[in-house]
Amino acid sequence: MTAIKTRESAESSDPAVRPELPRLGWRGGLRYLWTQLTSMRTALILLFALALAAIPGSLVPQRRISPVRVADFINEHPRLGPIYDKVGLFGVYSSPWFSAIYLLLFVSLVGCIVPRLGVYARALRARPPQTPRNLTRLPAYAKAEVSDSVEDILRRAASALRRRHYRVDVHEDSVAAERGYLREAGNLVFHTCLVFVLVGVAIGALFGFRGTSVVIVGQGFSNNLTQYDDFSAGGRFTEADLAPFSVTVKDFDVRFETGPVQRGAARLFRANVEVTERPGATPRQEVLEVNKPLHIDGTTVHLIGHGYAPKVTVKDAQGNVAFSGPVVMLPQDSNFTSVGAIKAPDARPERLAFEAFFLPTAVLDEHGPRSIFPDTLNPALFANVWYGPPKVETGRPENVYSLDTTGLSQLRQSDGQPVRIALKVGDGVNLPGGKGSIQLDGWVRWVKLQIGDTPGVPISLIALAFAVAGLCLSLFIRPRRVWIRIRDGEAGDEGEAGNRVVEVAGLDRADARVGLTDDVAELAAELSRRPEDVSAT
């Protein structure tokens, strides 16, 4: 509370500073700015600005979370979209204005904590304030008649207060006591820890990395950049930081709800994997599940998605196998209607390609082919066929999930309708015109692994634990001052003349505290009792 008062008094002294501003020069101006920035009022305004600024990011699609929805939004709002883009509404949490608010808030925080640390350090050594002359003026006051000697009562008063965890000073005819120093300590710990939370986040952002990789069940992932489908890392991350482990997905167990309620909802994802910490090390078996990531040599591997990869064999016009193997397809909906491209660039004399749908539980109705359940109850592959002259190998990477049809023609029937292929597992068809054949050999699942390391997390986590503890101290500790004075009985007092009177008075130093009057009365009553009574209770 003292520190808050210091803050307020600094604020109230501002008007006095303001007229002198021109003479203070730039240093004075800076000081004035600093005082303004670290004032409680500014902190409040910044807090609300932060709350307000965070809102649009929850309502407008964000690039970092779903780039597709951002693109959709821009297409749907051709006029608003570019404006949104310009002011950073598609990346609120990395936008300059959002960063400005939280950085200012933290500067204000630091500017507030540092002086308060000094104030608190002095307050820690401070003795309880001198007993006020007129105790009756304090918020709580009680008195009682006593017959013991002054020394006795003072001694008992001091020990009673010490028992209640007060810091006690015994004076000539009075006792001054104070408690609740931990409140401000908790407050300072909380605010300091918030800074450390941010430090932890910053370390994670600078030194951390995160990437994903789609791994077909039965195949493996080894931790180097070429194996990632997408990858992002902080400025201080280097490729050498990647631990040289590899993970083989042995099998993957998936269950879906088959009952009437929430039919099709996921019920189990479990991958059995073999982890090799470094080349040549003995592999170990692990189970990878949602909520149970693997920790390998400082890197964390999460299971964050799965899907289907139909196994197909494509033969070309000459009868040679042009492609054979699983093709990863991307799920489009919760029933795993999956889309992908089957490419046979080596087919001769013409290369072949297929735009394909894999449906784990296929139905064909007026909406066309679609899947009605996420598990493979009736798997089927639907495809359009494209062909064209062989392409020169450019080495340029292309999207494996979609088909670029430049240089390709769609295969059509004699009536001009595009050829549509529908295959069940084990089925194969010859393409019209002797272009070749395609067969659906089966299917496998793939899992999407997220591999990453966020080094600052322990710092943030420990800081948060202390922050919550500090917060509790600062909210629940009750700073209180109590004074006890012994004086001779006066005309106004009840009881026999010549007896002494003990006065107890108290003052709460934090908001919203109760029980002061009761505690003061209880202390007075305790002191008025004779020692033998006290020991009896």
Binding site: L50, S58, I65, G259, A266, E289, V468, L475
Partner: protein, 330 residues
């Protein structure tokens, strides 16, 4: 699915009982309108006189004179205050019945689902209402806050009512992302702190009403039965000061869980964002209370905005915005 059936019966009954409790408290308020306050007393006298006049027999038998009037109005007043007391007690008794029913509903739901009953919006709402009404009943018992009866039973009736009508989903197992010990920790903390935010918010509204009446010197009827605005403010503060660290913990626990389940501790998911917004607003409330010029009404308004943000996070984000926390299932 007998457990599920009885659980639903319990919840629907609890809504009915809460509505009845609300009526009882409304009657308590209405009866109290005629009590206390100078103006109220004057009205009371007029009414008493009018009642006497309207009964021909009594008018003739005992002509109203200046001396009789206060006596009869005093009797009238004491019978009125007895009626107020009766309605209040009925309200509390009904609230207890509603509470027992809704606890039974939650327990039966847990039995029906073979898991902690916090997997969706319906289950979260019904559990949070148990915490709210439980806190209220404890405070009635320990601190005599029957004046909270009307808003709390209203809140409970609306909450459980929405739950059984709009949010209802049949019992089902959990998706794998919820198979975690943090499921219990995160959601229980959220439900308890949410309950405390709600009670604190209701009190902040009462505070503003009472403060306005005090400032205009128009405190009578039910408002007179409320504690002083300062006292209401203190109790509201205590609820919010309890809720804030717990909410902090809820957010932290959520982000630990997110690190396990989704591989990142913070992803600006709409739910996460609004949890932070709510946190920041309540942080603002606590700062406002210790800043000159912001205490009292302004702080109470901030607490109400915080509650609005909590509700938006719960209902708006679950139903309107798509995100990883789309657990409403409706």
């Amino acid at each position: 699915m007998r457990y599920e059936y009885y659980s639903n019966v319990a919840f629907v009954s609890s809504v009915v009982v809460y509505v009845l409790a609300m009526f009882a408290h409304a009657a308590e308020w209405a009866a109290a309108r005629r009590l206390g306050g100078e103006q109220g007393e004057r009205e009371l006298v007029n009414v008493a006189a009018a009642e006497l006049n309207s009964e021909p027999s009594s008018t003739r038998a005992e002509p109203v004179d200046a001396r009789n009037e206060p006596v009869s109005s005093l009797e009238e007043s004491s019978s009125r205050s007895r009626r107020v007391e009766q309605f209040g007690r009925i309200g509390v008794a009904l609230a207890i019945i509603g509470f027992v029913l809704s606890v039974a509903g939650v327990l039966l739901r847990a039995l029906a689902a073979h898991r902690a009953p916090w997997g969706n919006m319906f289950e979260f709402t019904t559990s949070a209402m148990v915490f709210i009404v439980g806190a209220y009943l404890i405070m009635v018992w320990r601190a005599g806050v029957r004046w909270l009866g009307l808003p709390v039973t209203l809140l409970a009736a609306v909450g459980n009512g929405l739950a059984v009508t709009v949010f209802y989903v049949a019992v089902a197992p959990l998706v794998p992302a919820l198979h975690s010990v943090w499921f219990l920790i995160h959601i229980v903390a959220a439900a308890i702190s949410g309950a405390a935010f709600n009670v604190g918010g209701v009190m902040s509204i009462l505070y503003l009403i009472k403060k306005r009446a005090e400032d205009r010197d128009k405190v009578h009827g039910y408002l007179e039965r409320l504690p002083s605005s300062r006292k209401i403010d203190l109790i509201a503060y205590r609820f919010l000061a309890f809720a804030f660290p717990l909410w902090t913990f809820t957010v932290v626990a959520g982000s630990i869980w997110a690190e396990y389940a989704w591989g990142r501790y913070w992803g600006w998911d709409p739910k996460e964002t609004w949890a932070l917004v709510t946190w920041v607003i309540y942080a603002g409330y606590l700062h406002a209370r210790s800043t000159a010029g912001w205490r009292g009404s302004k702080a109470a308004v901030i607490a109400i905005i915080g509650l609005a943000s909590f509700w938006f996070n719960f209902i708006g984000i679950n139903l309107l915005v798509s995100g990883l926390h789309s657990y409403a299932g409706v």
